[in-house]
Symmetry: C2
């Protein structure tokens, strides 16, 4: 992987860059649609292609259970299995350990957990999740981390930081000892922890930077903390992360969060919000959110967003999409998903343009008046 | 509407024709995907376009409830509302009266019924369903008929035939008195009833032919009778229906039913089978049905049907589609629906070619060995 920092805003830490892997270029800032189980929910690859997404997420924990790694290897990895030939980043499963905590037991060695599906036992170690990600063949792998819940004591958060650093070291060693399986290169990012404790975030950044990863993620946000912490933590961490490496804020977020964290120097984002909200009948536009299944748009024959170029906005009215939701037709979620993903990609592409034009803060304000 | 009979098979009653409306040509035999509520479930218009469908169904009973006719008129009719500009045929609601019988009371005047959604009261008369279909703006409207259940006594079936004829007369009168609302022409087909009684089917055909409709449907099949009745009834009715008018067999069926009824001289078919089965994990191929969510195809990296040109078969393996079903991902139903509708359209297009080449019966046998 190569990362080239191309431009930094004069009025904030907002930056534009290009990340290059064997599956092509990713221009940052970038939003990465979530494709947990080997598909972005309700989207075909063609829909994804048209959204201009150049990278999507997969999830190590979930893919390890379904379809499972024997099948994944036979398929030739996730790119082949999905027939998706752009970039894939896989989360390590660290967040699933957090979100399925009742089923997990964490020790220094790793995480003993039971499948949420069938109760089968798994032992997730830093080494194991790399092995699985080798089998998946993701372009960007993530280390196993310990994601502390919110709120948590400083003592707890400190232990999680220290364990995350130890695991990152083991990860780097194992990464160097193992090889990609499918002929394309793979890289690996570390994950910064530290909850809302500034000293711990600083410590985590410094320890991980020491290990010289090709990219750094900020984890342990979007776990229930007040939303104002998100740009604060991002702003703090990017002070301690190298300029010349990509920074990925995990699981974030709303259009507002994304724009504010671009100002804080973040390059990469992922979140289930656009896809999940779409299926639940909320869509994002240049002029704010709309409850597209609501009675307000019943007789509104305008597209969801007049300025949007997505398939849904080119072809259908709010009233039609609302009718489909109201009638329980699955196409409603498909059309809303196509729009929301297109919008999120538009948002980060416009942010990038604005950064190059030294007007990112203005662009942000234009959007944020509606969010 | 114009119908041109272009070729009749030398070895059966199979025939090829072209039906022309203001929304374009429909080459017969043809399968018409079911789009009850203003969309073919889980399919975008683009997916429909690629399946080569030139006509889809809508449903008067359902559309009258949702989105309702005030909105339908404001939208400029169903073609505009859906942004679908090929042909639409609407069923009259007669079949919903049958399938929701506990909520309906039939008299000579019409059908008093309660909405299955909110209990609201409606009075479906032959005149009312035409008014609604004028509001929908379907290219082909259907008369209100009385669909007898199976089994039913000859006496019951005879009364239903007589009522259906009376209603057809009223329909014709009302049709002539009313006008299309959206600038394109509309036609109306009558519906033959008579259950499994040959004499009653003959009576129904003769009475309706007398009224000189532009097309004739055969209703009251696929209501629980043994499947061998379907081609028998079709074969009988087409003996009494005019050669130069299209014949539509309502709610049928399996690939086997469709091919056998093409032999019996039927031109048009509709059925929820390809879409419903798709969502439930069964797909149709040139070599028979496959349970695509089943364990048998777990490691099968071939497309659903190697010879199929649909988006799903061009891009994805059985193993991938099976994984999506297994993981409960909605994309599974989307991909399977795209394939099944494409397959059904392929089937009737190939049937048409075979009719022109005087080898329809051979083509039918090639397919039926697997069905």
């Amino acid at each position: 992987m190569k990362f080239k920092l191309e431009h930094t805003s004069k009025t904030s830490k907002a930056r534009a860059g290009t990340l290059t892997t064997d599956h092509g270029e990713i221009q940052t800032p970038v939003f990465m649609p979530v494709g947990t189980l080997g598909n972005v929910k309700a989207m075909t690859n063609r829909d994804l292609e048209e959204s201009d997404a150049n990278i999507i997420l997969g999830n190590t924990y979930h893919l390890n259970l379904r379809p499972g790694m024997p099948l994944m290897e036979k398929a030739g990895g996730l790119h082949q299995f999905m027939n998706y030939h752009k970039n894939i980043l896989t989360d390590s499963g660290g967040f699933q350990v957090f979100s399925l905590a009742a089923l997990a037991k964490i020790t220094d060695e790793g995480v003993k957990l039971r499948s949420h599906l069938d109760g089968s036992k798994w032992f997730f170690t830093p080494e194991f999740v790399i092995d699985v990600q080798r089998q998946i063949g993701s372009d960007i792998m993530m280390v196993l981390d310990e994601c502390a819940p919110y709120p948590c004591t400083e003592e707890y958060a400190k232990k999680a930081v220290e364990r995350t650093t130890k695991w990152a070291k083991r990860s780097m060693e194992h990464f160097k000892k193992t090889k990609p399986l499918y002929g394309h290169d793979q890289t690996m990012f570390a994950i910064v922890q530290g909850s809302t404790y500034k000293n711990l975030r600083e410590q985590s950044c410094k320890e991980l930077v020491e290990l010289d990863f090709e990219g750094y993620a900020i984890g342990g946000v979007s776990v229930g903390e007040p939303p104002e912490h998100i740009p604060e933590i991002s702003d703090l961490c990017t002070n301690f992360l190298p300029e010349n490496k990509p920074r990925y804020l995990m699981g974030v977020g709303t259009p507002k969060d994304i724009l504010n964290c671009i100002s804080a120097g973040i390059d990469m984002f992922d979140c289930v919000m656009p896809t999940r909200n779409a299926r639940n009948g909320t869509v994002f536009t240049r002029k704010g959110k709309i409850i597209i299944k609501g009675a307000k748009v019943k007789e509104d024959f305008e597209p969801i967003d007049k300025e949007c170029g997505c398939y849904t906005c080119r072809n259908h009215s709010r009233a039609y999409v609302r009718h489909l939701f109201n009638a329980g037709e699955k196409l409603s979620g498909q059309l809303a998903t196509i729009h929301n993903i297109y919008f999120y990609l538009w948002l980060t592409k416009e942010a990038r343009k604005a950064i190059f034009n030294n007007r990112f803060e203005e662009f942000k304000e234009e959007i944020l008046q509606y969010y």
